[in-house]
């Protein structure tokens, strides 16, 4: 049974695309067949993060409008056999998406893949609502700061009212993914705490991704962070989140400040 999962947030720049690519690659790595769909029509990025930007011929809009067949637009990942990308159009805008068209494409993808990951654009307009429209599950990407948390709250409200599942009286299963968590700043009390975020959003946590240069390094070389350096801290956190998505029980670890050897030796005297 295919699962349609939307990666969304409301706010921009919190790490939706990074998370879509990382979770998609992690799922594919674990043996699932996965397609990541870029819904950010006009401002596409997922192709870059996946390292497939030079192979885009047809895109989601072409398929929605019937110009191209779905298999023509799907791009297979060069590293993982079971990972595919359906890119967005960069020259069009979100108004080119229609509800029926998107529904048809999602329906076709459901038949071909185990997981359909929809990378939502920021905002609450057409692009974002259509990305979540047919979702069975949702990952709400949130940064530990008030503006991001409030936007996530708004998006959760929309997931509970504007999706096909919600309109049928069912529930979209929702998970909060906290990204760009900086243990040092958290220790100094400069960031919203994990507990505060979860209390405000009243939604279960699927993972905490630490702020890391590894994320930027991976996207610069066009690779999901989970494929670029699977042993890096963010990659391990994404793999844990992926296992929780698949229903496994994985203990949640809050990233802590890692002190260097010298720091540990001298720490006491400095304090």
């Amino acid at each position: 049974m295919a699962k349609v999962l939307v990666v969304t947030s409301g706010k921009g720049g919190v790490g939706k695309t990074t998370s879509t690519a990382a979770l998609g690659a992690a799922l594919a790595h674990s043996g699932e067949s996965v397609v990541v769909v870029d819904f950010d029509v006009g401002l596409r990025n997922l192709d870059l993060v996946m390292g497939a930007e030079r192979r885009v011929v047809f895109d989601l809009i072409n398929v929605v409008q019937g110009v191209a067949k779905l298999p023509q637009a799907l791009i297979r990942d060069k590293r993982l056999e079971s990972l595919w990308l359906l890119p967005a159009s960069q020259t069009r805008d979100k108004d080119a998406l229609t509800e029926e068209g998107v529904g048809k494409v999602i329906g076709e993808l459901r038949e071909k893949f185990d997981w359909v990951l929809c990378d939502s654009p920021a905002g609450i307009e057409r692009g974002a609502t259509l990305a979540m429209r047919y979702a069975d599950e949702a990952v709400i990407v949130t940064n530990p700061e008030v503006s991001s948390v409030r936007d996530s709250d708004r998006i959760i409200g929309m997931l509970d009212s504007k999706t096909v599942k919600a309109e049928k009286g069912e529930r979209v299963e929702k998970h909060v993914l906290i990204t760009r968590y900086d243990p040092a700043r958290a220790a100094r009390g400069e960031m919203l705490g994990i507990d505060d975020i979860l209390e405000i959003l009243a939604t279960p946590l699927i993972g905490i991704i630490p702020e890391s240069q590894d994320v930027l390094r991976a996207s610069n070389v066009g690779s999901p962070v989970t494929l670029n350096d699977a042993s890096s801290a963010p990659a391990r956190a994404y793999f844990d989140a992926m296992r929780r998505l698949k229903g496994e029980e994985v203990e949640m670890t809050v990233p802590a400040v890692r002190k260097g050897f010298m720091n540990r030796l001298l720490g006491r005297r400095a304090a």
């Binding site: 609450i124 409030r150 209390e199 405000i200 009243a202």
Partner: protein
């Protein structure tokens, strides 16, 4: 107009079982001049067309003295208005022809209750409270002018609750709560944790900045006292 019940029950033979049944019929008692009386019927029909459709109608001619031709004309005139006459009473039998509705006797007045002729309409009393059993999210607006709103969960920053009555929040109030919007100054706002952006009762409001910082994060209630909003801890 008054109603009459008409019932006749005969059980003469065993083989053919006759059952009695009574119906309530509208009784028309025309008065002279008939033309004006018909105009009155037309006026009734104009205000509620189809009022007599499917309803048994009996003509009571005891108040007027009409010839056979006049009765025939009256029956036809009613038929043209889609009123079919079930029977005629209060007239000598020789005035009626075989093509006219049959003569009726023995009718008894009764009160017309419209419940048995019209499907019962559900007239539930309007609910005076609204219960929400999930958090109210940022951007959501709950408007309930008819009474109290109870939320089992938190009200997010950027969400708002508007109630005609009081507002009860079993969670943290981070958004806006407006109680007593229809001029109910005795409405109150209760919450388990107050971090509200704005509280209002009957138009009097306080913004987050004006709410005493010592109240923050505590259970609190807000009410009006002589046009001044009071907020006090609840325990």
């Amino acid at each position: 107009m008054h109603g009459r019940a008409d019932s006749r029950a005969d059980a003469t033979r065993q083989q053919v079982r006759l059952r009695g049944r009574s119906y309530v019929a509208y009784v028309f008692a025309p008065v002279v001049p008939i033309v004006e009386w018909l105009a009155e019927i037309d006026a009734t029909l104009a205000s509620s067309p189809g009022f007599f459709v499917g309803k048994p109608v009996v003509l009571d001619l005891s108040g007027v003295d009409l010839s056979q031709g006049a009765i025939a004309h009256l029956v036809t005139s009613l038929e043209q208005r889609n009123i079919r006459v079930l029977g005629i009473e209060g007239v000598a039998a020789d005035r009626l022809t075989s093509s006219m509705p049959p003569m009726l006797t023995g009718g008894r007045p009764c009160v017309i209750t419209r419940t048995d002729t019209q499907p019962k309409r559900e007239t539930k009393p309007k609910s005076t409270s609204l219960l929400l059993d999930s958090p109210v999210r940022s951007g959501q607006s709950i408007i309930f002018p008819d009474g109290d709103v109870t939320v089992l969960g938190s009200v997010g920053s950027g969400a708002e609750i508007v109630a005609g009555g009081s507002i009860h929040i079993y969670g943290t109030l981070r958004g806006r709560a407006m109680a007593g919007v229809n001029g109910n100054s005795s409405a109150r706002i209760y919450c388990q944790k107050i971090e509200a952006e704005l509280l209002a009762i009957d138009g009097y409001y306080q913004t987050a900045e004006e709410i005493d910082a010592s109240l923050r994060n505590r259970p609190a209630q807000a009410w009006l006292e002589g046009g001044v909003m009071k907020i006090t801890p609840l325990n």
